[in-house]
């Protein structure tokens, strides 16, 4: 029954028709009677004192309902926005935690820092009024350049973080690593910058809030990836609204990529103000605001060294990283360059000794937090860049060097030297398959042919490991994480046999409404059209941890399986009663309870009906109803892995890089819907290609002005920047979750920057270029080529 719709089927998405017919419901689409509109006046300076704010002219503007400043929120005891992960430094001290006011009070710390909120009868009126607010700024020098953040004399961002240092953190034993380096036959060194990115979900962030005076209830609609966590933060830390009086709804959300995980200033202010204004308040970011204030991603400066023996075996890895936090610590910012970065530095390799030192800096720039991959792309870029460089240094084939150092399939579970224990994997067949699809053997001929046309062709590998579905909760707690890492699921059957699957994870493009329905269809034999997946509303879901870190299927899907097991267990008792059989003799197959060896059977729908109309029912033994809840706390992370091979052609006259072939072979464990998984990989790769070739968040180093603040200045990947992709799969099921699944949402973005840049470096190597920074824009490539030529001439 479920072959066409169950696990492994390319089921067309249930959510598509509404999106294709313009009937999706995003936050800005909400019709709210008597709505007002908020507009935020933002700092035009990277660093300034606020000497005074004159609202008198603005308050007289047409349509203005109210204007609020940081003083109003402070007087109303609104708390600081919080960072939810306490990272302890190398001396065991918790990270520095400067306050993060919802609206700036006496100091602004980045261009875009909100200073006042105008509420008016229309968006345009609010904006017009905001222009009339006069802020008396005392403009101060700014700290913008990450590499100089800790230098003496650099302007200080927060008094609470002397020297702009948030933490100086380490993982591994430095003395052991140094000793291994002393014995190395060869050491490869690299200096790399992981460029700063702006997430750019196509739907700008938005919030709407309504206060019910009669009940004291607040409703907040937000473009959130995790509405329960947002509610928890607002209730427990920032606004003090009791959790049961605050309902957070994240309806259709137009992409997140991490940027919508966090608790932001605007939704907080809008929610707070809704009870003061007495009318609903709507706010939607303009794209310029998204560029300025969505938490940015990446932004590392790293020096790394790899020690190898004479045969090319990795002996030790040493990594020194400065990570930019921006002006304030966003919700999970501290965890990204530590527990999501340094713990991944083993990659797919048996490197026995690893030492990482990470120093986090505050600067006068927008907050930086998790962005698709979050720490893992940065780790992969370090490892895969240095491994390819080592292959060049040793004149070895990059695939051969990787293979020589892969963790063997017999070594799992494999304890890495950087805390994680990989549960499963088999890396050599992945790279073999990728090389076959990419026709690696034919590459040198293609390079020669390109050369005859005056083009530089290169090929690059990236063999990544990802740890997704942060887990288990106890370990995350020991590491400083402030929340649990389980997921919830509820299977709520109706008397007529259809079922709501209520999940605590959130879909903002990932297709949960289809994938999760497939799981239930497969497990319980319910036709797909009778299954509805419900998510994104704190009033319909018990609790949920939301969607990030490729956790939804591995953790949320597992919770659904657990709830389904409870449905089957209860159904067996009901069916046993109806068939006058012993429970032990009842089996469940293809949606039907049967007594083994007889033709007696009770379809699940019949058991469900009996549960709601319990006229013939074992009421003394079990309760009526068919509604089961489950919470699943994973035993470990899941560890997808794969190899990408990118082939580029560079025009040395223009510096333009064209991707001519791109192959990705992944091991995501078991796959529920290959169509959806492929889509995730495509999208992830293009975000990685964007980082490598196009995207760059640039601040003026003196003034802190965001120079890449629009689609005219920040190069988003467009359709003609990328090719079609060749994908392949290998499967080693995850051994510790009931579906055997791993995550797939971030893999593409994690691996692609290194694959592309290794290809670019390979293409440029014959003309003497050894290093080039991301993004490899035509200008950057052209200048690098000509810089190398000049160096050669001198």
């Amino acid at each position: 029954m479920t072959a066409a719709t169950g696990i492994g089927a390319r089921v067309k998405r249930k959510e598509d028709v509404r999106f294709l017919t313009g009937t999706g419901r995003y936050v800005d689409d909400l019709p709210l009677a008597r709505a007002t509109y908020a507009y935020f006046l933002r700092s035009p300076h990277a660093h300034a004192g606020i000497k005074g704010i004159d609202l008198s002219a603005a308050e007289k503007m047409p349509g203005v309902v109210a204007i609020f400043t940081g003083k109003d929120l402070a007087e109303s005891k609104v708390g600081s926005l919080i960072c939810g992960w306490v990272v302890k430094d190398k001396h065991g001290q918790p990270h520095k935690a400067p306050p993060h006011p919802v609206l700036a009070v006496d100091t602004v710390r980045y261009v875009g820092d909100p200073v006042a909120m105008v509420v008016a009868n229309s968006h345009d009126e609010a904006k017009d009024a905001a222009e009339q607010i006069k802020v008396d700024y005392d403009v101060r020098p700014a700290s913008v350049d990450l590499a100089k953040a800790f230098d003496k004399g650099t302007p200080q961002v927060h008094a609470e973080a002397p020297g702009n240092l948030i933490y100086d953190w380490e993982l591994g034993v430095k003395a052991d690593v140094d000793a291994a380096f002393a014995k190395a036959a060869h050491v490869t060194k690299i200096d790399i910058v992981n460029n700063r990115l702006i997430p750019n979900a196509m739907e700008p962030r938005a919030a709407a809030a309504e206060y019910d005076k009669g009940t004291g209830h607040y409703t907040l609609w937000s473009t959130s990836q995790n509405p329960h966590v947002l509610r928890l933060i607002l209730s427990a830390f920032v606004l003090g609204i009791p959790e049961h009086k605050l309902r957070v709804i994240a309806p259709d959300v137009g992409g997140g990529f991490g940027s919508k995980i966090f608790c932001y200033n605007e939704e907080t202010a809008v929610c707070w103000a809704s009870s003061r204004v007495g009318r609903p308040i709507k706010w939607t970011a303009e794209r310029a605001e998204s560029f300025m204030t969505d938490a940015h991603g990446r932004d590392h400066v790293t020096h790394a060294e790899l020690a190898l023996d004479k045969d090319g075996k990795f002996l030790a890895l040493k990594v020194d990283t400065i990570a930019n936090m921006g002006a304030y610590l966003s919700t999970f910012s501290t965890a990204v360059p530590t527990y999501l970065y340094a713990t991944l530095l083993a990659g797919q390799y048996t490197t026995p000794l690893i030492y990482a030192n990470v120093r986090a800096a505050v600067t006068h720039t927008a907050p930086v937090d998790a962005y698709r991959g979050a720490g893992r792309p940065e780790a992969t870029f370090v490892i895969e860049s240095i491994v390819s460089q080592a292959a060049k240094d040793l004149n070895m084939d990059p695939a051969e060097l990787r293979r020589k150092n892969f963790i063997p399939s017999t070594a799992f579970p494999y304890q890495t030297p950087v805390a994680l224990q990989y549960d499963s994997g088999n890396y050599p067949p992945i790279i073999d398959e990728a090389m076959k699809i990419a026709d690696y053997k034919g590459f040198e001929a293609r390079r020669a042919e390109a050369k005859s046309r005056g083009k530089l062709r290169g090929i690059g590998f990236s063999s990544y490991i990802e740890a997704c579905g942060l887990a288990p909760s106890q370990v995350i707690g020991q590491l400083g994480g402030g929340v649990g890492q389980w997921e919830s699921a509820q299977l709520k059957f109706n008397p007529t046999g259809n079922v709501q699957v209520i999940t605590g994870s959130h879909s903002h493009g990932q297709g949960h409404e289809t994938t999760f329905a497939q799981i239930v269809s497969d497990k319980l034999g319910v036709p797909l059209e009778n299954i509805e997946v419900v998510h994104g509303d704190t009033s319909t879901t018990t609790f949920g941890m939301g969607t990030y870190g490729s956790r939804s299927l591995a953790v949320g899907g597992s919770a659904i399986m657990k709830a389904a097991d409870k449905i089957i267990a209860k159904g067996r008792k009901i069916a046993a009663h109806l068939m006058e059989a012993s429970v032990d003799d009842v089996v469940f197959e293809n949606g039907t309870f049967k007594v083994a060896g007889t033709d007696k059977n009770v379809p699940l729908a019949q058991a469900v009906f009996a549960a709601y109309v319990p006229h013939n029912y074992p009421l003394a033994e079990i309760e009526p109803g068919m509604d089961e809840n489950a919470f699943y706390d994973p035993a470990n992370f899941v560890y997808p892995a794969g190899t990408q091979i990118c082939e580029v052609e560079i025009d040395p006259d223009t510096g333009e890089t064209q991707i001519v072939n791109f192959t990705a072979v992944d091991d995501f464990g078991n796959i529920i819907n290959p169509m959806i998984v492929e889509g995730q990989v495509h999208g992830g790769i293009v975000q990685g290609v964007g980082q490598a070739l196009l995207e760059n968040a640039v601040y003026d180093k003196e003034t802190g002005q965001l120079l890449s603040g629009s689609y005219m200045d920040y190069t988003m990947p467009r359709a003609d920047d990328v090719p079609s992709f060749k994908l392949g799969y290998k499967v080693t099921p995850c051994p510790h979750n009931p579906l055997g699944v791993k995550g797939c949402g971030e893999a593409g973005a994690i691996a692609a920057p290194a694959a592309v840049m290794n290809a670019v470096r390979d293409a440029l190597a014959p003309i003497g270029v050894t290093q080039i920074t991301m993004p490899a824009t035509p200008l950057n490539v052209w200048q690098t080529i000509h810089g190398a030529a000049r160096a050669a001439a001198e």
Binding site: G22, G24, D720
Partner: protein
């Protein structure tokens, strides 16, 4: 000061009083409550707001509502005959998984239909990718959007739309 504006949207008369600065997309979303057309940027580059005005694709964030006076406007809501009978382009997007979060989708579909017609139902991958210059998608990596448009072109021709 408000100005009266009247046009035909998805075959039905639509009118209202707008400010001179009201954009066509604002008129559709805020005055007519037709929220299928989206706003993804403020520089006319993302293409989430594409509609057809008198048969041509237009970024509705780049046109004033009053400029559409008397025009025939087609939005994503007016494309499908019913939920069961999608336009071939909508069908192709669904068949090829050419959408994820759905936010860029209305503009993508409207641009794609215009593209197919302008190229007389004959397209190749390079042309499609070049023609998508004005539509940004952050989810799909474009791979499946390109596939969908290439699949829709002959389907549109066959359906006579």
């Amino acid at each position: 000061m408000t100005i009266s504006v009247a046009m035909t949207v998805n075959g039905k008369p639509a009118s209202g009083k707008v400010e001179a600065r009201t954009l066509l997309v604002q008129f559709l979303r805020e005055h007519l409550s037709m929220t299928g057309t989206h706003v993804g940027c403020d520089t006319s580059q993302c293409g989430a707001c594409v509609v057809h005005v008198d048969g041509k694709s237009v970024k509705s964030c780049t046109m004033l509502a009053v400029q559409a006076e008397g025009a025939q406007v087609l939005t994503i809501e007016g494309l499908a005959a019913s939920a069961d009978k999608l336009h071939p382009m909508q069908e192709a997007f669904r068949d090829n998984h050419a959408l994820q979060c759905g936010f860029c989708t209305p503009g993508m579909v409207m641009s794609a239909i215009d593209m197919v017609k302008r190229h007389n139902y004959q397209l190749d991958e390079t042309t499609v990718r070049h023609e998508l210059e004005g539509n940004l998608c952050r989810c799909t990596g474009y791979h499946n959007i390109v596939k969908a448009i290439l699949a829709a072109a002959p389907a549109m021709k066959a359906a006579g739309v």
